[in-house]
Structure formats: C-alpha cells, structure tokens
Amino acid sequence: MNLLGTIGFSAGMQSKQQQRRVLKKTRSPIRVVVFFLAPALIVYLAFVAYPVVKIFRLCLFRWRGITRGTQEFIGFGNFVKLIHDPVFWRAFVNNVVLFLFVVVVSVCVALFFAYIIARRIKGSMFYRATWLFPNMLGDVIVASIWLFIYHPTIGMLNYFLSLIGIDIGATPWLGQSSTALIAVTIPMIWKFAGLYIILFLAAIQEIPQSFLDAARIDGATRWQEFFHVILPLIRPTIAVAIVFLMWNSFSVIFTYVKLLTEGGPYRSTEVLPTYIYQVGFKYHEFGYGSAISVATFIFIFALAALVLRMLMERLMRGEKGF
C-alpha cells in the first residue's frame, strides 16, 4: 500500500490507538531518511555552507586573516578595487578563454572517440581501454607527467616533433606566453577525456537502433547520421558535460596552473582560482580574495544557469531529443 493509500485507510479508523499507529508508520520513513542524512548534512553545513556564507560576509571587509576583531568594514570597496584590478581581468579573460578551449576540445575529442567506440570502428577496443587510464591518475600526477613531457631539452614533445621533421629546438612550451595557456590546459583535457567519452558513449548507446536504421535506409552517410541524428539526440548529455567542464575550468585548473606555471609567464596563465589563492595567502588580503571568490561564483552561477535554462526550455517545449 502506498503512502496516500495508507493515509486514506487511516481516515476510516475509529480507535485513537490505531490512528496513532498508522501515523507512526507514515512518519517512520521520513524519520529514517533524516537519520541517515543528518551526518552528511551536518558536515555539509559546517564545512561547505557555513564557509560560503562567511565569504559572502568577508568580502565587505578588509582583513589580513591573522587576528579576530581586526576586520574593517569597507562596504563594496573590494568590488571597486576588483573593477580596477588589471590582474583580475587578466585572470578572468584567461579563465574564460581556457573554458571555451576546454569545452570545444573536450567535447569534440570525446564525441569523436565515443562514436568510434559505439560504431565498433577498427581500433575502438584500444581507445576504450586506454582513454580511461589518465582519469584514474590524480591531478598532481598528471601535471607532473606533463611537466616532463614539456621539458625543453629532454621532453617527449620536442623530441617527437623533431622525429617527424618539425625541429623547433628547445621550445619552452610552459615558459612563453604564446603557448603557456594552451599547454597548461592540455593535461587537464587529457585526464578527463575518458570520463566524457564514457558519458557520450552511454548517451549514444541509448539511442534506439530504429532511429539509426531509418537514417541508413534513407541513405544517410556516417557524417549525416552523426550530425543529424546522433548529435541532436544526445544534446542534453552534452549540456551536462559542459556544466562539468565548467567545474574543471574554474576549479580543477588550479592544480595544473600551480604546478606547471604558477600563473606565469607574467600572468599569461593566471586564472581566477590561482589569483584568489595569491591574494589571500601571498598578499594576505582575505577580504579582497573573498570578493574575487564571490564575483567568480556569481559569474559561474549565471553561466551554469544559462546553459541549464536553455536545456530546460527545450525540455518544456518538448523539442526533439528530449
């Protein structure tokens, strides 16, 4: 008997004791749920929600982060400073460019290999096995591996390029502003590609075979099948992937920049998370660092909301593929 049925049945009972017993039965599931959720909820409130609330408060103060009671209220002074801070804007632009690059490359690479694996094209088993491997490594390990790949004199990248006739000498991929930002992004894309391949592969495999058969019967080529049948049908999955990639680009990227370039050369790889860290822990301006965090949060929230809203609109309109 479901919950509503139980309540309806109880309405017809005469004895108070019987009514209490029924009410107890309906409250028990809720009580059990609360009991099991409580520890995680307490931890979440204490270590996530509470610090976030504090940051929203701290952004209105000037504070060095050493002594309680020395916070000086300055209203929106930190945000005025942010607007005039060229390093903030450099980090913001770098981060947006990085995000766009990560989205385009990750989605294209993942879609390509997901399609190959799904269609069982030659080599698909090899890609299936190898693409997941980097995802099992930690970010620090991945960054350390690529530090050596990028080494100017003994690194694999310059060596392989010289083998195929592109002799560029000891190119410092991480040390010149023209290549550093892309160079810092590649390891992160390499690590997470396997995850998105699996995501898209699952979505492609969910497509009813009849759709693909119908397209083939109508004379569709593989390209047409991919662009006009598969792609529209897995659009929600791509939207979800973009939201995850947003998290990669504005959060996970910290590890890669910190280990590979420290934001250099001259801020060409500075991103918002590394700048927030520098403002807080190197310049000891916790109020200003909080303001940058709040601004970043608002931007990411708006961006994610936009992406998801577009998805929901299509869902509400009952568009094809939803």
Partner: protein, 452 residues
C-alpha cells in the same frame, strides 16, 4: 508520564559528544593535572625536522613533567594561522614562508624578543644575541624591536660541476670580461653557459639583480629601492643593472630556460649540459638525487665590474623565511618558549643541526661543523667567500617579505623582459609605479632598512 523521544535524544547526545571530542583535540597548551603541555609548530621542508624533535627532547629532559608536542608540516601556515585567529596559537612556532609575519607583528600577535636576546645564552656567559653573527636581526627589527629568530642562513652564488670544468680546463672567472670569454668557449663546446630557473623569475633577483644594483649603483641606491623611495627604481644606474641582466639573458642563458623549473635547470649543471646556475646554499641538498659521480659541485661568487667605484665583494645573504622562529603574544608558556629557542640556538644544538642538515645555522661560526662529505664541502665552497664580504643584501627577507606586491611586480616584469616583451626601462618604470602606490598606502607597514 510524557514519552521521551528516544530518537532525538540519541542524535543530540551523539552530536554533543562529537563536538566535545573535536574541541578536546583542538585544545593546545592545555594543562591537565600536574602535566604541562608545551606546543611547538614548525615548517617541514628541505632541512628536515629531526633537530626540532631533538630540541624538544632536551627541553623535556630539563623539565620533568613537561610534555612537548611538536607539529610539523610542509604547509604549516595553514594549520597555524587559524590558531592565531582563534587566539590559541602554539607556544613557539616557525610558521612557514606563506605566513603573514609582518601582519602578525603589526597586529601585536608576536612578542618582541630583544629583551630576551640581551639575557645570557643558555650555554655561555655572554648575551644570547652575541652568539649570532652581526646583522642577523637587521631584517627582523622594526622600530627597535626584534620579532623573530632566524635559524638557517642562505648564501648565494654560481654553482658548477668541477669535473666538467676541469675536463675543459676552465676556471672560475674573476671579472665579467673573463666570464664572457669563458661563456663563448662553453657555447663552442655545446654547453649552455648559464642555466636558469626560467619559470620562476625571482631567481633573477638572487643573486643577479640585487648584487648588480649594489655593485653598479652602490649601497645607497639599493637601500632606496628597498625603502620604496621615489625614483629609486628608475635611477639610471639601477636601470643599468637591469640592462646588464638582459644582456646576460639574451646572450648567455641556456636555450629553453624559460620552460624549466628550478629542479630541471639545476639538473642541467649536474649532468654537464650547462656551465653554471645561480642558486642558494640549499642547492646541494636539493640536487641530491641527480648528484654526479664524485665530490664535484662547487660555488663561486658572481664576477666583478672592475671599473665600478663601489665595493664588489657584496653578496646576497638572507635567512630561510620558512624557519623564522617567533613567540606568539598569546603563548601560555613564555619562559619555556624562550628557553626552547635558546636551546635551539645553543652551541650543542647548532652543531647537531649543521651535522644533520649539511647547512650552517645562525650560530656564529657554525660553518666549521659542516660535514666532511660531498654536500658539506659543496656548501663550504659557498660560505667561504662570505668571510670577506663588505656587506650582504637580504633581498628575500626584506623586499619579498615586507612588500609582496613589489616582489610580484618585479617577477611579472622580469618575466616579460626575459621573453623580450619589455625593455629594462619599462620594467623599472612598472616596478616604480607599484612602489609609489605602496608608499602612499597607509595599510602597508613601512620599514627603514640599512644594509650595514
């Protein structure tokens, strides 16, 4: 009788006990019956921490019933800073290089130590301060008060692989003209003359830039730069120092140096692919894993400008900012904290620390205890030429710690200059702009520093 809600009661009890447990763990310096707990926190890095534990053991030996709790961590400031905020810091601490020492000082969180330094050392009938070399506390002093005890001095120079040099018949150049001739020979031999930690532009400031400014522009102009004076960084002689550095970068720095970090570039010297690399006296220990065969690593001072009217035997020397020992104002055991520091800097512990770390300490004459092994001999070759120094420049302990934004501007613009995207004049102008801004900022603690 009202039924007790057993479920709610159980949850509340569990939560209450867990918080009690948490607070009990977080409590430091607490005193239980008859037992005094004295807390020490220290940065854990290249020097290890055995010497901290040994000092703690000695303190316990001298005070039966005392328990010394030592916490060490490579990111100790992340643990210690919240404790300062909570008003419950360790009793004595070396809070690491990312701790805001001068912020803590300006907010009264650290005890001045000069009165204690003028009392007797723990193992000699001389003032404690006299067991340190002259100038040890210059950068630690503000308005007459000394706020920290540095432990490990860093010496600087060019490090080279003697085996490679002997093979080619090369000897350390005394002047820059000799150096340029030598570098041309190195290029012909297929060896990059100067390795450089390109990803970290701050390595261009120790020893290169600050020593160039001192040797070409003189002590007063370098002091003006550190003291944030107007037009100090755009002075023509200071710009000349930057121009000379750029000449070195463009003509003699190893190809690909921009993409190398400190370990990669320093390894180039160890394996004989580069001639020299500028680094501090931590170099031998840091390169332990890529040490070439034999006892072959040595250091030399930078060559001199023989036509300059200013002293040329001036070198960078500072103290490792990761291990600046302080006593928090909120310490529960001030006398014990002082005793701990006196023990740490005593002759017995200095000898122990030098022999175990392979690095001198701030105990006067501690270099004599450098171990007679390849590491000790390498470090000794670096400390040797400091004995005749006219004065030393504590760049990292001053500019870097006092004015991190000037340091950031210097690093950013030096990186631009390295890549050929800025001229020396532009770099100096950019740094001067930040200096001028900081000078007018009332929230920035201003120091007045003299090199002698």
């Amino acid at each position: 009788m009202k039924k007790v809600n057993v479920f709610v009661t159980v949850v509340l009890v569990v939560v209450a006990f867990s918080f009690v447990g948490v607070w009990d763990v977080m409590a430091t310096g607490s005193e239980k019956e008859e037992e005094i707990i004295f807390t020490v926190a220290a940065f854990e890095g290249g020097y290890g921490v055995e010497w901290v534990h040994e000092t703690a053991r000695l303190l316990e030996e001298q005070h039966p019933g005392l328990k010394v709790e030592v916490t060490t961590d490579p990111r100790i400031w992340e643990k210690v800073q919240p404790m300062f905020v909570a008003g419950n810091p360790p009793d004595v601490v070396a809070p690491g290089w990312l701790f805001d020492h001068w912020g803590a000082i300006s907010e009264g969180q650290l005890k001045p130590l000069e009165d204690y330094l003028n009392t007797d050392a723990i193992d000699k009938d001389v003032p404690w301060i006299d067991t340190f070399p002259d100038g040890t506390f210059s950068a630690a002093t503000y308005e007459g008060h000394i706020y920290y005890i540095p432990l490990f001095p860093s010496f600087y120079g060019w490090w080279y692989n003697k085996t490679v040099w002997d093979r080619h018949g090369w000897t350390p150049p005394k002047t820059w003209d000799e150096a340029f001739k030598l570098f041309d020979e190195m290029k012909k031999a297929g060896i990059g003359p100067i390795a450089n930690q390109g990803k970290y532009p701050m390595y261009l400031t120790y020893p290169y830039l600050t020593e160039f400014i001192a040797r070409l522009a003189g002590q007063k102009k370098l002091e003006a730069c550190i003291n944030l004076e107007p037009n100090s960084w755009t002075d023509p002689k200071v710009v000349e120092a930057f121009t000379f550095l750029k000449h070195l970068i463009d003509n003699y720095f190893q190809e690909g140096h921009l993409g190398m970090d400190h370990l990669q570039s320093q390894a180039e010297v160890m394996v004989g692919k580069a001639g020299v690399v500028a680094c501090g006296s931590w170099f031998p220990k840091e390169q332990e894993q890529v040490w070439p065969e034999g006892d072959v690593i040595r250091a030399m001072p930078l060559p001199v400008f023989p036509d300059s009217p200013f002293p040329q035997n001036v070198y960078n020397k500072d103290h490792d900012s990761a291990l600046l020992w302080v006593i928090p104002s909120a310490t529960k055991h001030e006398e014990l904290a002082v005793e701990f520091l006196k023990l740490l800097t005593s002759e017995k512990m200095a000898k122990y620390t030098v022999e175990n770390t392979g690095n001198p300490t701030t105990y006067k004459g501690s270099s004599k205890w450098l171990p007679d092994n390849k590491f000790g001999r390498a470090v000794a070759s670096c400390t040797a030429y400091y004995e005749n120094a006219a004065y030393t420049i504590a760049k990292r302990e001053t500019l870097e710690l006092w004015y991190p934004k000037v340091e950031a501007a210097l690093n950013d613009n030096l990186a631009k200059m390295e890549e050929g995207k800025a001229t020396p004049e532009e770099v100096c102008a950019a740094v001067q702009a930040v200096v001028d801004e900081l000078r007018e900022d009332p929230n920035v603690l201003k120091h007045v520093f003299s090199l002698k």
